[in-house]
Symmetry: C2
Subunit: 174 residues, 2 copies
C-alpha cells in the first residue's frame, strides 16, 4: 500500500498544484493522499469529483498533525526532495529494503520541509538535484516504483478513454 | 533540441503550475519553454530567477500566436494528453520516427486543447488515460525520452546540491 503525504498546502495559492499531486498519486496506484497545511474542502472535493467520475477507491484526506502521522506510520518512509540520493541509487535502496507487503509513505513538500525530516525519513530521494516540481518528482518516482499501474482499469468508472495516436475517443460506461 | 509549448496560461490561477512546467522542462534538458495564453511577466521571471542561480541556458518565452508557432515548427510534434496512445507504444513510435538530429516539440495543455491538435500533432501520447497533471505527464515523458539529462552539470551555476540519502548538503560555487 502506498500513501502520499503532501506538506504545507496553502488554500488558494496551491489549489491546482495540490489537486495535481492528488491525481498523480491516484494515477500510479497510491491508495490515499493526506494533505497537511491549511484545510481546504474545495480542493479535497475536486479530487473526490474525479474519483466519482473516473472510478477506483482512492481517498483524499486532511491531517492537521502530520508530524504525529509520520512518526506513527508503520512502514518505509521516503521524502522526495532535490537534496536526496540520486534516483537510480535510491530505487536500488528501496528494492533492497522494502518488501512487497511493506507499506510505503511518500512525502512531498510545498512549504519548506523541516531539515529533521531529511534525517529521519528512511530515505531522502531526489528526482534530479535542481529546483523543479513536487508533482513531477512524485510522478517520476511512482512511475519508477509502480509503472504497471499506469493503464489499469478503475472499477465503477462512468467514463473511459480509448487511447489513440491521433484524435480523441471517450467511452461512456453508464 | 527539445522545446516545450504550454497552452492557455492564466495569470494568477496557473502561476505555480506554469512555473513547475518550466522548471520540469529545464530539469530534463529542454532548451526552451514557450508559454501561451495570458502574458505573465512575473511567472517568466520566476523561471528566469532559477536559471540565474542554478545555471544552464534554458529560456522561457511568451508566444501569443501559438497556432502559427506550431504550424511553423520544423520537427516532430507530440501532444501529451490523457486521450493519446499509451506510453510504451508512443515511445516506440518516437524511437522509430524521430532521428537524433530532429527537433522535438512537446505540447501540454492547460486550457482545453482544441481537438484538431490531437489529429495534427505527429503523435498524441498519454501518460496514463486518467485525469492527472500536465506537470506529471511532462516529467515522466521527458524522463523516458531523456533520462540521461537528469543529473547533468549546469554551467555557470552559483549553487549545487550534493545528493544524500539522509540530510542535506548544498555547495556554494561562487
Amino acid at each position: 500500500m502506498i500513501k502520499v503525504l503532501r506538506l504545507g498546502h496553502r488554500a488558494g495559492r496551491d489549489d491546482r498544484i495540490s489537486t495535481h499531486v492528488g491525481l498523480t498519486a491516484r494515477q500510479w496506484g497510491a491508495e490515499e493522499i493526506i494533505y497537511s497545511g491549511e484545510k481546504d474542502k474545495n480542493m479535497l472535493e475536486s479530487v473526490e469529483d474525479v474519483v466519482d467520475r473516473w472510478g477506483g477507491d482512492f481517498e483524499a484526506k486532511y491531517e492537521n498533525d502530520w508530524k504525529r502521522f509520520f512518526k506513527d506510520f508503520d512502514g518505509f518512509t521516503v521524502v522526495l526532495s532535490m537534496f536526496g540520493e540520486v534516483l537510480d541509487k535510491g530505487m536500488e535502496i528501496i528494492d533492497n529494503e522494502v518488501e512487497d507487503e511493506d507499506d510505503l509513505l511518500v512525502i512531498i513538500g510545498g512549504e519548506k520541509i523541516p531539515s529533521w525530516l531529511y534525517e529521519e525519513a528512511d530515505l531522502n530521494l531526489s528526482v534530479g538535484s535542481q529546483p523543479h516540481s513536487e508533482v513531477g518528482a512524485l510522478a517520476v518516482f511512482l512511475h519508477e516504483y509502480n509503472s504497471e499501474m499506469l493503464y489499469r482499469d478503475f472499477k465503477d468508472a462512468s467514463i473511459e478513454v480509448v487511447p489513440k495516436a491521433h484524435g480523441k475517443e471517450v467511452k461512456d460506461l453508464e
